[in-house]
């Protein structure tokens, strides 16, 4: 997705003179062509995410469209208050594009993990959160939302789903309709969810926009009142949206995602997937449990 991020950004920069890119000293080599083509609109800001975020809001105040980019823990958690005050409270549009959410960089340890980004950004009124599953989906979603006047978070991953879908910003995609349960899969968590449900009589709804949450598609596709929520970050973030969408009816929910603890082991992300049950077989077992639950 990182290569697509560069391709999409450079293409939009060529077409939209308002777009300004701020890098937190990562991706600089990847953007070498943009530095040559648009020297006034791309900056390697250095390692100062708080000032970078406020600076980006200042650009936005003057009518430009900023894109800030760094690794997820630094561009979200380090400068959370700047996102809250300078973008959301001040009602300024802009784009935060992260890489390395959850444990993409497993071997680097917990300082470089970020399974909590979506959960905390979800608390900010007006914040849009986009979790693409493939490079192509990122391209579609960025072009749809980058200049919509709202602060938007794009969560890029080092992994991608095997197949792209024709996704729309703010809308869930109905990939499959069934009777026994509804699987709500977010971003790159779709891969194990789809593999797990191939021969199951369940609905699969694919969410690449987490906020604003598409409640209507869920309401129209959840007759079973059983929901399996499969997320690539801390598990259960969308639970309150699901409950609110289906209220006043009661609903049974199983949440699958990253457990709420520090993952202090190193290794590869696939090894963590195995250990945490975030695999087709792990997801399948949890879905079957819910289907058979009374």
């Amino acid at each position: 997705m990182r290569k697509q991020f560069v391709r999409t950004t450079e293409d939009v920069m060529a077409k939209d003179e308002r777009l300004v890119v701020l890098l937190g000293d990562i991706g600089v080599f990847g953007f070498r062509s943009a530095f040559e083509q648009f020297p006034a609109r791309i900056y390697n800001i250095g390692i100062c995410e708080q000032a970078m975020t406020s600076l980006a809001a200042g650009l936005s105040k003057e009518g430009l469209v900023p894109v800030v980019h760094s690794i997820a823990p630094f561009v979200v958690e380090r400068c959370f208050e700047q996102i809250k005050v300078d973008f959301c409270y001040q009602k300024l549009g802009g784009n935060i594009v992260s890489v390395g959410g959850s444990y993409d960089y497993a071997a680097l340890g917990c300082t470089h993990h970020c399974p909590g980004d979506v959960a905390i950004l979800r608390t900010l009124p007006g914040m849009e959160i986009v979790v693409p599953g493939t490079p192509q989906e990122y391209d579609q979603l960025f072009r749809a939302a980058y200049a919509d006047g709202q602060p938007t978070y794009f969560r890029l991953s080092e992994r991608k789903n095997p197949q792209s879908f024709d996704v729309q910003f703010g809308r869930a995609s109905i990939l499959k309709q069934g009777r026994l349960a509804t699987v709500v899969a977010v971003g790159t968590a779709l891969a194990p969810a789809l593999a797990a449900t191939q021969d199951l009589d369940v609905s699969v709804l694919y969410y690449t926009t987490v906020a604003p949450f598409d409640a209507e598609t869920l309401r129209q596709n959840c007759a079973s009142r059983k929901v399996v929520l499969v997320e690539p970050y801390y598990q259960g973030v969308l639970m309150q949206d699901i409950v609110a969408a289906l209220a006043p009816a009661s609903v049974q929910i199983t949440t699958i995602g990253v457990p709420h603890r520090f993952l202090t082991d190193y290794g590869h992300q696939e090894q963590h997937d195995e250990a945490l049950g975030l695999t087709p077989s792990g997801v399948r077992a949890r879905i079957e449990q819910l289907i058979h639950a009374k």
Partner: protein, 257 residues
């Protein structure tokens, strides 16, 4: 001029009596600077406050908002009567300024350490957009405890933002917690053109504000007195966030007559 400023000070004190809210000494600390900015340095049009052909002013130490409100009202951005409703439920003039509500306010501040990096972004945007106007930011000395101020200082110097001026309201309120020492030397070391002035001397303020280095951002360290002009408030921490009683109000009004 002093008569006019004393009138603004009386308005500021009176504004705090409706809700018993407001940081009077913080406002008096910067009132002379804000006044000089709007009375001969900055270009602006109160009837077209979003005109591109304006200089931008950002109050990074948002709790000094009353000084800015009083000056904006005096300059015609909104009626001065609104000051009497300061911080009430229906008022658009709050304890910290909101750019979505108040004409002439460029940034919604309050949490410290945001306004200067925001101003760096505004200054950078003006350069990108080839708009030849200036950006003025007032920060507090205690606000300079925040690391983001120094991140912004590095960035402004590195990117040679000569259209940016940062005024440090050095009223020494932070000395008791974290002494900031020689602020002009600090900004100079970060690559700014830095100067120290008496922050209540209008001629010195104007001279410093009108100066502009062709390559560097400008830092003006304004030595100020918190609560300037009301003896019992001056450098008295008890008044930081307090509204006067009826008797105190009368005495202060006499002092500012």
């Amino acid at each position: 001029m002093r008569v006019r400023l004393n009138q603004l000070k009386r308005q500021i004190i009176a504004a705090t009596t409706a809700t018993k809210e407001g940081h009077i000494p913080s406002a008096f600390s910067i009132l002379d600077i804000v006044w000089v900015l709007y009375d001969g340095v900055m270009r602006f049009n109160p009837h077209d406050p979003k005109s591109d052909d304006r200089d931008r002013f950002i109050l990074s130490k948002g709790h000094g908002s009353l000084a800015v409100y009083a000056v904006l009202a005096e300059k015609g951005f909104f009626p001065a009567e609104e000051l009497a409703r300061f911080s009430t439920l229906e008022s658009r003039l709050g304890g910290h300024p909101d750019h979505n509500k108040v004409p002439g306010i460029e940034a919604s501040t309050g949490s410290l350490g945001h306004g200067l990096p925001f101003g760096v972004g505004v200054a950078m945007a003006l350069r990108i957009r080839k708009v030849d106007r200036r950006v003025f930011v007032i920060v507090g000395d205690a606000e300079c405890n925040e690391g983001s101020i120094w991140e912004a200082a590095l960035l402004a110097a590195h990117h040679k933002l000569s259209n940016l001026t940062c005024i440090v309201d050095y009223n020494h309120s932070t000395d008791r917690a974290l002494n900031m020492g020689d602020m002009a030397a600090k900004f100079a070391a970060f690559g700014w053109a830095a100067t120290t002035i008496n922050g209540h001397d209008h001629a010195a303020i104007a001279t410093a504000l009108l100066a502009r280095d062709p390559q560097k951002p400008t830092a003006i360290i304004a030595e100020t007195i918190k609560g300037h002009g009301v003896k019992q408030m001056e450098n008295n921490p008890a008044w930081h966030h307090r509204s006067p009683s009826k008797d105190e109000l009368e005495a202060m009004f006499q002092e500012l007559a």
